[in-house]
Amino acid sequence: MAKKLPAVDVALVGFGWTAAIVAEELTAAGLDVLALERGAWRDTPTDFAVTFAQDELRYMWRRSLFQEPARQTLTFRNSMDQTALPMRHLGSFLPATGVGGAGIHWNGQNWRFLPTDFVARSHNEARYGTLPESMTVQDWGVTYDELEPYYDKFEYLCGISGKAGNIKGRIQDGGNPFEGPRARDYPNPPLDMVYGPTLFAAAARETGHKPFPCPAANMSRAYTNPLGVTLAPCSYCGFCEKFGCGNYSKSSPQTTILPVLMRRNNFELRTQCEVLRVNCDSSGKRATSVTYIDTEGREFEQPAEMIFLCAFAQHNVHLLLLSGIGKPYDPKSGEGVVGRNYAYQIVSSVDVFFDDKIINPFVGAGGLGVGIDEYNGDNFDHGGLGFIGGGYLACWNTHGRPIELHPTPKGTPKWGSKWKEAVARNYLTTATISTHGAVMSYRTNYLDLDPTYRDAHGRPLLRLTFDFGDNEHRMSDYLTDRAAEIAKAMKPREIHAKKRNGHYSVVPYQTTHNTGGAAMGTDPRTSFVNRYLQSWDVPNLFVMGSSVFPQNAGYNPTGTIGALTYAAVDAVKNIYLKNPGPMVQA
């Protein structure tokens, strides 16, 4: 029997970026907020200090900061005719566990989506005609212009280092001319640029592109955000992604929000408490509580007036399916919404080998790089190309961690003296251009509960059925070809273009940009939440994070997650609290 606890105003499931934002905003509004986090407390001086954080084996390869599949994983298959098998250890994506969530171990590549991304269906159909029947791409129900103030708010919270390309419609030299108009420049100037991205920028300009420094959540200088929290300047240590930042220079909940939030007496955080399900009353129209289990195996029922699902995208969907909230998606009939519109990211790269240029890859930062946006979204004419969407090309200089990074030219043996020689010869003198492409949503890519495998609590695992479509392969190949053209203009000894061939695989790390499954939209038949991330069915239940993306765009998702969260919590404060109930009439 679960022990029933005293009610709170707001319960948050998971405590990463979105929960920290919701908690800060709603405690400031006077509500009592409780966060339930399945992992442990974590903070800079004790858990990823400069004294030991630079440990590639421990954090990247032994996955110290990530969720343990032993406790939670999913099953996977490429297509419905296969049997899904468990992802037994992490690979393709790295969900977090613990306070701060993936906000601890992200790189800090912080983008805005394009205005056309939010109207992906209507815009593309107007320009190119009807989309293939297999796609479930849809408009978001919110526009870029509506989100702009919230993008701005998140960027100023984080102290993003960057260069504006479009301020109120005026194109700015040196920034990204394709971006949606922003109200003002970034809070901090771009990071100091290292050699590789500088060479890329010159070649990109030479080939007719407009390169710009990528927006980074790594501080180019000391910065105090609007909450009064201070971040220190980045030291370019090269241990960003998969690592916690040791010197307060990467934006995370810990470095931007928690110092203020934790001082408030109407906030409480419980760690090592895993939420098992969300409970509704008999009408099914009101969420009453969450049931959680602690490490002793004791169950508690925590009633709340409002419940926000703030866990990782897949976990939010998993929890909805386990709680029986919303209609599970059925790919055969196309009916149902929970699990629908799952998407991901498609990436490829081109290695650029020099003999005469020392790149020093280890002088890095997570968001340190130069990008071009000519081939993202609908920034270019797709007529005759056979695909929609796109992605950015970037020459990042994020790290030189050698277990992960030891590029060798095409045709090099995989081991032995020749391999060793190639690694030694090319480590310091190789740059890489990455492509980072959008993935559309399809009828046959979805999440549901696995019929066979169970998690540590005996609950069905989430099942992922996913593969890239022809659209993605064509698009990714197109991007890789463009990257190779610029790579050649860098005048290297040789290049190695690595196209993204074949089926999607959970084995190699690609990105942790898993999206969809609780999509937002304008129609309750094709979306689980409305434009304010409020459940259509259960108005006091809100879903934060990238599980609400109806499909993925060509950028890293964090900036958009931050903006959507601020927009949602603003609506809660200004609309919902005055009149609890649906904020959008279905």
């Binding site: 296969q82 250890h89 955080l269 490490t295 002793e296 081991w415």
Partner: protein, 258 residues
């Protein structure tokens, strides 16, 4: 610390609390960002000395195999000299070897390449089974010699067969196979794990027993566990030749005794 773990560390304006229930597990936080002096989630380094997982025969196999994967040559020491066998021994004796973080519940069955590792075996068990099977194979083929007793050329031939999945390894159980490929136990799963672990041992921090004297880092010019490259950001195209630093430092830290 009584004197220094002040009330302030836990209590601010009388509102802060950390309550602990049970075995220091589930906790409640509020009122302040908690911090206790002297606490660090420091890495657990390994000690040199006796083997903790491998038998002598297994260690001989690993020594021989990693010496072919990353050989000692004109460029300097290889994996064997870097202590990769010690590294691997300690890894397999620990949580990684036991697959502590992995999902190891059945049912077990062969999957596609896209679905990744589907063996029943933990990494430690995989090594045990594979080494036994490979040595058995070598004895049959090379008149009683184990892998470690073969010539370098013979070892390379065997390793190539293992890499290509041509050598049958019994008892691995379900594992990833090519979608078009035949079902059945193959050795490529083991080879992929072995090469990955060898690279880890060659390039990881010396506290884990490999990368002895930071030879892996010196080979390529990686400066190791540093935390401040600000002075070098603007030095485009320069070979910096920074001495590598491990979590436990570098020789220059210890010259203070005159």
């Amino acid at each position: 610390m009584s004197g220094s773990l002040s009330r302030r560390d836990l209590v601010l304006a009388g509102a802060a609390f950390i309550s602990i229930s049970g075995r220091s597990q589930a906790r409640t936080y509020g009122g302040a960002v908690p911090w206790t002096p002297g606490i660090a989630d420091a890495p657990r380094g390994v000690a040199e000395g006796e083997l903790k997982f491998f038998t002598a025969a297994e260690a001989a196999f690993v020594d021989a195999a990693v010496a072919r994967l990353i050989p000692a040559d004109h460029l300097g020491p290889g994996a064997k000299e870097a202590g990769v066998t010690t590294f691997l021994d300690r890894q397999l004796a620990g949580p990684y070897g036991r697959a502590e973080r992995w999902y190891m519940q059945g049912p077990w069955q062969d999957g596609t390449k896209s679905q990744g590792y589907q063996s029943r075996l933990s990494p430690a068990e995989l090594y045990r089974v594979a080494i036994k099977s490979i040595d058995q194979h070598c004895r049959q083929r090379f008149s009683g010699k184990t892998f470690a007793q073969l010539s370098a050329d013979q070892q390379d031939r065997i390793l190539t067969e293992i890499e290509k999945g041509k050598l049958k390894i019994e008892d691995i159980g379900p594992h990833a196979v090519a979608i078009e490929g035949a079902k059945g136990p193959h050795s490529d799963t083991f080879f992929a794990v072995l090469m990955q672990n060898t690279i880890e041992g060659f390039f990881s921090d010396p506290i884990y027993g490999g990368n002895r004297d930071m030879v892996g880092w010196k080979l390529i010019g990686f400066p190791g566990a540093r935390y401040d490259y600000r002075p070098y950001v603007g030095r485009h195209g320069e070979k910096l030749d920074l001495a590598p630093v491990g979590i436990r430092g570098r020789p220059a830290w210890n010259d203070q005794q005159s």
